[in-house]
């Protein structure tokens, strides 16, 4: 009889403990739209977050198909981080499809100093994929610090019991990033004032950070595929500006850039602009290393 009671008591204690542990030490379920956000979330949340992302690293983040499998990812998520500024036109449909009504959506563009916000009426004659300003702010590594701070804040609000853990990870990451910023600044020093042709208008934040001149884009307007007449225009721009590299996001076709290169002798550099966008690029820092080494090494 007594033995039975003790047994029951033990089971109860174990059950309570289980409930308690699952409440306190449960991971925060996070989904990010892009792998860059995912990497920052993992750096700060480490094993206290269960993170996933939607857009593949080798995929144009403007165009993501509405797949039910993405809805499944969002179904149990608590936090959803996005770049914002209209980059993820696909995000709302995925959220709706997930039917998750406990999802907190955090737009990481909130704290960013936005560039290229259109003045006046926007219409499709300008190409309409950057209607709220340029969303490619993650290519300025100083903005990664702002994004990380925003992510930290959201994780703290969701899981206050892990606040010390998140803050410590955040500080470690920021100090690593700060060291990298010094290294990148010095590597890019010699690029200051140089002219570069880019493929898509992803590069304004990066270029202004390092004092690069954007002499032109391979796309005639953001999101509009290259045309022969625009290529001809670029040919003249390249001659005039003395640009010696075309930097392109690696998910675009290099047909037009290679054509321009064969006419002008300009060098084409393909870089990933997302984590996992290329073999071996498994973190934001490695991605920026790759971009900066390739640009600074080729100017």
């Amino acid at each position: 009889m007594d033995k039975e009671k003790i047994k029951m008591k033990n089971i109860l204690v174990i059950l309570l403990l289980l409930v308690f542990t699952s409440m306190n030490f449960g991971q925060v379920k996070v989904v990010a739209t892009t792998s860059v956000i995912y990497d920052l979330v993992k750096e700060i949340g480490k094993d206290k977050v269960e993170a996933d992302y939607i857009c593949r690293g080798d995929q144009d983040p403007h165009y993501v198909e509405i797949l039910p499998s993405y809805m499944l990812k969002l179904r149990k998520a608590e936090l959803f981080f996005k770049i914002g500024l209209g980059l993820e036109i696909w995000a709302q449909q995925l959220i709706d499809g997930s039917r998750n009504d406990n999802l907190k959506i955090i737009d990481l563009s909130n704290g960013i100093e936005k560039k290229e916000i259109p003045a006046g009426k926007v219409d499709a004659s300008q190409g309409d994929i950057h209607p709220y300003g340029n969303p490619h702010y993650w290519l300025d590594p100083y903005n990664a610090k702002i994004m990380a701070a925003e992510i930290l804040e959201a994780l703290l609000a969701k899981s206050p019991e892990n606040s010390e853990y998140f803050k410590k990870n955040y500080q470690n990451y920021i100090s690593t990033l700060d060291k990298k910023l010094i290294e990148w600044n010095s590597k890019m020093k010699k690029a200051e004032g140089r002219s570069i042709v880019f493929f898509h208008a992803s590069w304004i934040y990066f270029a202004e950070r390092y004092g690069l001149k954007i002499s032109g884009y391979v796309e005639p307007k953001p999101g509009i595929p290259p045309t022969p007449s625009h290529n001809a225009e670029l040919y003249n721009i390249i001659k005039k500006s003395g640009a010696n590299v075309i930097v392109m996001e690696n998910y675009y076709s290099d047909k037009a850039p290679n054509q321009i290169a064969s006419q002008t002798g300009i060098k084409v550099i393909k870089v990933p602009i997302a984590v996992f966008g290329m073999e071996g690029i498994d973190s934001y820092i490695k991605m920026m290393d790759y971009i900066i080494n390739n640009i600074s090494g080729n100017l």
């Binding site: 509405i66 797949l67 449909q93 039917r99 998910y251 675009y252």
Partner: protein, 399 residues
């Protein structure tokens, strides 16, 4: 009616321009077709026929954090029609269910819920024309959608209750065509009109089980099982009984898409439909109907579409169905034809210079007819050129 609609549209645009903060999304889709047939004996053989352009206006937006409302108003050959008007409760319901209510395209198979302008091909599949009608299955009712608790893949179950007019071949643009036919009825055929099924109020039930599999980062597969059942009407039989004329549709669909990068994709898609229905026959001289045996017929299609260089696509489709395409609907609708068959082969080439803002498609369809009584009918060939513009906010592509 069309004047009222025009005023309504004007009002709507005014509201849209006046309010700057909470705007519904509005898109306009314009379609302009030219057709050319190559049928022996046709007075228009080889000539270009310029069809009236048609316009569709899609309006949708959130009503609140839980629900959305959508409307699709179409202008076609001089008249306006509300193609779709519905609301959706997206979240917040028990069991994570979604509720859709109003007039909308039914999720029976994959193609039916996609508007024609977004198909890679130019002609509605033959089996849809016979079993769903020229405008597809578009009905008034409710749909409940559930996500099933499968861990490793997405699966869903939908069940809906509909008025059933589109199954019975009533409503839509076809109404207009019926009226024309009535005018053309010859004296001798007048008795025909008496042989109509009496209307029924019993709704049609429609359900779908869907499963989606991510095969790799670049390829996905969706499979669906569909079913619908209901009563087409009541028939007064020669023996004095009133009989419910029932039908059951069963269907399977399959879609595979491989998209290795931004510039290329291959889609392979198929749908098949099985039709089981009660048959009543008219007998010469009889005052009422005579009950016949139930029939089982079927139809379906398979196609591939290959997109290359981002802006071009081409594809081929094979269609087969019971029933003769282009026949007039009789008392029992085309879907009752268990003797005659139509098959078709079509091909197309599409050009999409900037996403979906402009689309130009050239398509050809060859129809082959097989009559039970041995009637010989020449194959029919039609070329179509289709130009579509899409004005409005960018939308992401659903699988």
């Amino acid at each position: 009616m069309s004047k009222q609609t025009a005023v309504f549209l004007l009002l709507l645009f005014n509201i849209n321009f006046a309010q700057s903060n909470v705007n519904p999304d509005i898109s306009l889709i314009g379609t302009f077709n030219t057709t050319t047939n190559f049928n022996e004996g046709s007075p228009y053989k080889g000539k270009i026929n310029f069809e009236d352009p048609s316009l569709e206006m899609f309006i949708n937006g959130y009503l609140n954090p839980y629900a959305k409302a959508s409307a699709n108003i179409a202008y076609h050959e001089g008249s306006f029609a509300a193609e779709e008007i519905y609301f959706e409760i997206l979240r917040g319901l028990p069991l994570d269910m979604q509720l859709k209510g109003g007039k909308h395209l039914l999720g029976f198979g994959k193609i039916n819920t996609v508007h024609g302008h977004a198909w890679p091909f130019t002609e509605r599949p033959l089996a849809h024309r016979i079993y769903f009608g020229e405008e597809g299955l578009n009905d008034i009712g409710f749909n409940l959608s559930f996500i099933l608790p499968t861990e490793n893949f997405f699966s869903s179950f939908d069940i809906g209750l509909y008025k059933g007019d589109s199954f019975r071949g009533i409503g839509g643009h076809e109404h207009g065509q019926e009226e024309i036919h009535e005018d053309e009825i010859h004296e001798g055929e007048e008795a025909h009109e008496e042989f109509e099924l009496n209307e029924t109020n019993s709704p049609v039930i429609s359900a779908r089980l869907g499963a989606f599999f991510g095969l790799s980062d670049y390829s996905n597969l969706e499979i669906g099982l569909n079913g619908a059942a209901g009563t087409l009407g009541k028939a007064g039989l020669d023996n004095g009984l009133i009989k419910n004329v029932n039908f059951i549709y069963g269907g399977i669909d399959f879609k595979y898409k491989y998209k290795p990068d931004t510039y290329k994709s291959l889609t392979i898609q198929t749908e098949a439909l099985l039709n089981h229905r009660d048959i009543i026959n008219e007998l010469e001289g009889a005052e009422h109907f005579v009950l016949g045996d139930a029939i089982n017929t079927y139809g379906g299609f398979i196609f591939f579409d290959y997109q290359f260089n981002k802006v071009f696509s081409f594809g081929l489709k094979y269609d087969f169905t019971y029933g003769i395409i282009g026949s007039e609907r009789g008392i029992n609708s085309l879907a009752n034809d268990a003797g005659n068959k139509t098959s078709g082969i079509s091909g197309w080439f599409g050009y999409y210079p900037v996403e979906e803002t402009l689309a130009i498609r050239i398509g050809a369809e060859r129809l082959m007819f097989d009559y039970e009584d041995g009637t010989i009918r020449d194959d029919e060939t039609m070329f179509k050129m289709q130009m579509i513009f899409s004005l409005g906010p960018h939308k992401a592509h659903p699988f």
